[in-house]
C-alpha cells in the first residue's frame, strides 16, 4: 500500500528537519543578538537576586517597539522619533518595605558594581534618607548606547530598574517624559 503523501520509496526530506529547527532557533537567536548590544543589561538574574518575581515588568523591543513608535506618531511625533532610535526598553519593579531597604541597597550596589566593571559610566549617585538613585550610561565615541536607572524609594515603597537600549539623548528623553503626568503613571503602576 503506497502512501499518497509520502511515497514509500522516497526518503523523508531531511532538509525540512533542518529548516524546522532553524525556525525554532531563530527567536532564540534574536534574543541573543540583543544581548550582544553594548547598551543592553540582562535583568534575568534580578529575580534570583531579589528572591521574588517582579511586580512590574516591561519588555518592549524589536518590532513591537517600532509599532509603538508609529502608533504614537499621530499624537506625539517627537515621541515617535525618539522611540525609533531605541532598540529596547526594560523595566523591573519590586516592592520595597522599609525593613528591606538596607538589603535591597546592598543588592543594588552589587548590580552597580557589575555595571561599572562592564564599562558603564556613572551619571548620578544619590544617597538620601530612604532614597537611592543610580544612573549609568554606556557611551561609544559619538553617542550614548544605553542607560540604566536604579531607584530605591522607601517612601513610595518601590524598587525600580530601568534599562533603555539605543541611541539616547537624555535631555530629550527627560523633556518628552515630562509630558506624561502622574495620572498616566497611576494607570499602569500596580
Amino acid at each position: 500500500m503506497s502512501n499518497p503523501i509520502l511515497p514509500m520509496n522516497r526518503p523523508f526530506p531531511h532538509w525540512t528537519i533542518v529548516l524546522a529547527c532553524l525556525a525554532l532557533i531563530r527567536p532564540v537567536l534574536a534574543q541573543d543578538e540583543l544581548s550582544q548590544v553594548p547598551g543592553y543589561v540582562d535583568f534575568s538574574e534580578l529575580t534570583s537576586q531579589f528572591g521574588e518575581a517582579p511586580t512590574l515588568e516591561v519588555n518592549i523591543k524589536g518590532q513591537l517597539l517600532k509599532l509603538v513608535a508609529e502608533a504614537s506618531r499621530a499624537d506625539d511625533p517627537e515621541l515617535a522619533d525618539l522611540l525609533l532610535e531605541l532598540q529596547a526598553i526594560q523595566v523591573r519593579g519590586y516592592p520595597l518595605r522599609r525593613a528591606q531597604f538596607r538589603s535591597m541597597e546592598r543588592r543594588s550596589e552589587i548590580l552597580a558594581g557589575q555595571l561599572e566593571a562592564d564599562g558603564w559610566e556613572t551619571v548620578v549617585n544619590l544617597r538620601d534618607f530612604g532614597q537611592y538613585v543610580d544612573m549609568y550610561v554606556k557611551q561609544n565615541a559619538t553617542a550614548i548606547e544605553g542607560m540604566v536607572l536604579l531607584v530605591l524609594d522607601s517612601e513610595a515603597g518601590e524598587t525600580v530598574f530601568i534599562n533603555i537600549v539605543g541611541n539616547i539623548d537624555p535631555q530629550e528623553m527627560g523633556r518628552i517624559g515630562s509630558k506624561f503626568t502622574t495620572a498616566q503613571l497611576e494607570d499602569i503602576t500596580p
Partner: protein, 180 residues
C-alpha cells in the same frame, strides 16, 4: 598427464582407499591404479583378501533394530523443531517486512515528534517569549505605548527629584561661598 599416476602409490594412499575400493566407490582412475597395485603387490593382495573377509562377516552379523518408540520420539522432535523454525522465519520475515514497509512513515513521524519535543522544551525553558513573538495585536501595542509613557515619565520624574535633592544639598554650600 600426472606423472604420479604411473608411479607406485604410497602405502598410506592405498590404505586410505582400500575400504572405498571394496565398496566400489573409487573414481575410475583411482580404481585402475588400485587394481594394478593389488595385482602386482602380494602384500597388499593379502591385506585386500583379509579386508574382504572382515567386510563380509560384518555384513552378515546381526544388525540391531531401532525401537519403534524411539523412532517416533525422534521424528516428533524433528517435526517440532522444523515447525518452530518455520514459525520463527515467518515472524522474522513478517517483522522485517512490517518495519521496511512503514519506515517511510515512521521517519517523518519520529522527526516531527522530535521537532515538537524541541519546540516544547524551548518554550518551557523560556528560550523565547511566545507572547511577544506572536503578531502584536492592537491592545498589545496600546499597552506597550502606555508602558513606554510610564517609563519615560518615571525617568523624568526621577531626574527632577534628583535635581531637587542635589539643589537642596548644595544650596546652603553655595550660599556660604565668598563671592556671595
Amino acid at each position: 598427464m600426472n606423472p604420479i599416476d604411473d608411479s607406485r602409490p604410497t602405502d598410506a594412499w592405498i590404505d586410505e582407499r582400500l575400504e572405498a575400493f571394496l565398496d566400489g566407490d573409487l573414481p575410475p582412475e583411482e580404481l585402475a591404479r588400485m587394481e594394478r597395485v593389488l595385482a602386482n603387490d602380494p602384500t597388499w593382495h593379502v591385506r585386500l583378501t583379509l579386508a574382504t573377509r572382515i567386510q563380509a562377516e560384518l555384513r552378515a552379523s546381526f544388525t540391531p533394530a531401532v525401537p519403534a518408540g524411539l523412532t517416533r520420539v525422534i521424528l516428533s522432535r524433528a517435526r517440532r523443531a522444523h515447525r518452530a523454525q518455520v514459525w520463527g522465519d515467518w515472524w522474522r520475515t513478517g517483522l522485517q517486512t512490517f518495519l521496511a514497509r512503514f519506515r517511510a512513515a515512521w521517519q517523518p513521524a519520529l522527526a516531527l515528534t522530535s521537532i515538537a519535543a524541541l519546540a516544547t522544551f524551548l518554550y518551557l525553558a523560556g528560550g523565547f517569549n511566545a507572547s511577544r513573538t506572536a503578531p502584536a495585536t492592537v491592545p498589545d501595542v496600546e499597552q506597550a505605548l502606555a508602558e513606554v509613557k510610564w517609563t519615560l515619565g518615571y525617568i523624568s520624574k526621577t531626574g527632577r527629584k534628583t535635581g531637587e535633592s542635589v539643589q537642596s544639598a548644595i544650596g546652603p554650600l553655595l550660599q556660604g561661598s565668598p563671592h556671595e
